[in-house]
Symmetry: C2
Subunit: 271 residues, 2 copies
Amino acid sequence: MKLKRSGRIGALIKILCDNPNQIFTLSYFTNKFNAAKSSISEDIVVAKKIMEDLELGKIETISGAAGGVKYIPFISAEDTKIVLEEICEKLKDTNRIIPGSFLYMADIIYNPSIVRKLGNIFATKFVDEKIDYVITVETKGIPIALMTANVLNVPLIILRRDSKVTEGSTVSINYVSGSTGKIQAMSISKRAIKHGSKVIVIDDFMKAGGTAKGMIDMMREFEADVKGIGVVIATKEPKDKIVKDYIPLLILDEVNEAKGSINIYPNKDLI
Amino acid sequence: MKLKRSGRIGALIKILCDNPNQIFTLSYFTNKFNAAKSSISEDIVVAKKIMEDLELGKIETISGAAGGVKYIPFISAEDTKIVLEEICEKLKDTNRIIPGSFLYMADIIYNPSIVRKLGNIFATKFVDEKIDYVITVETKGIPIALMTANVLNVPLIILRRDSKVTEGSTVSINYVSGSTGKIQAMSISKRAIKHGSKVIVIDDFMKAGGTAKGMIDMMREFEADVKGIGVVIATKEPKDKIVKDYIPLLILDEVNEAKGSINIYPNKDLI
């Protein structure tokens, strides 16, 4: 089958965008589209320009033996602002207040159309770190961590609360929850992470930072280098958290059950 | 900014494919591309043909007031076969055998580039059921369930093993694990699921089917209609599982620690 230029460009964009941060050789497309290398090269130039003009991400050409072309998703500060403000609006609904001044947010952080955007925001922040894994701990952070890993095209590692018989030899650590003071455990299969890897930590919520600190301690067991920490929501207080250098998407100032008020806003550094 | 045809088609495909099963109006594209309705209509015809010719999914036009255009991902039986056989090859590595004749598979079922394909396979099977939610239970099935929900453009519901204070009022049920005979619990916030919804259940593994049965029982509490069950791996034995009408992607016949052998193969009905 012979495709016209517009057909080739459409299909090329589709294939690249379905597989973010994955390198495709020119031969892959010359075979698939039954076209000459020169035509594909021209198609890539056009595709690049479309993506840049419409701020839909970046198509990058890599030269050399392992070379080819890949798509790097990107979300602009402007679009980040729109996404985060929309989520804040949803979270400000006082029907979300749960006894104990908690905020119901499972419907937001499990919604694929929302978490894929949040994953895109984290990936845009961390893409230059060239990481090997995204790390999270069960359960609520998993969807966002997976979508971040998907965009960065790296495996996701899920730390478990208990060690499981199906995981083989595990490494377990205890850590102190910064907000409750309770001792908790996390564990992971010894074979899950290669020693000396570069990782980022993604979670849904940070109060004092004890869980994030636990994940960092666990990474030390694998001599892994934590290149960044991203959380969807960080509480404003305590200001001094156990971990430094984390990137929150949203800041939760207050959930007041008595007054029926919620104060949450986007991280101003991102928008 | 004025785009040429090839530019518009590339961008249109990118936007539709990033948002599977989501309807975009024609006006969305006329505004975004600064083009006439007639041009966009022609672009859609071309985009449709590209996707069909290359078996990359389907672009569907919906007429009427709530009309527009949407992308329905699709994976062919041929590609399904390639994906499932590749995973089987990986899982047959005897280094994966864990004492107790378990199979280590966290690296497979948490790998975004693999689970997005598995999600696509499940979505292709269940797209006509017009479901409202994808249901799973923590933890290992979450990535695959999320990717299925992503393609179907519906929310994911994660049943928890314990009820959490952050979830508000919860519904809890006990169920008997079919393989171990142990009584286990699962719970979910009362507000998570609208009564009378249509759902599918997705999980990573099924032995006797007790967990899947537990999820079906939980759905009864919400008067939800379970339209299908998908699992990545089902064991060959016991043949008579507690639930009927489930779709496994792979069948696990044997993990023999003593002999160092693994027998696993794709579900022949899918390929």
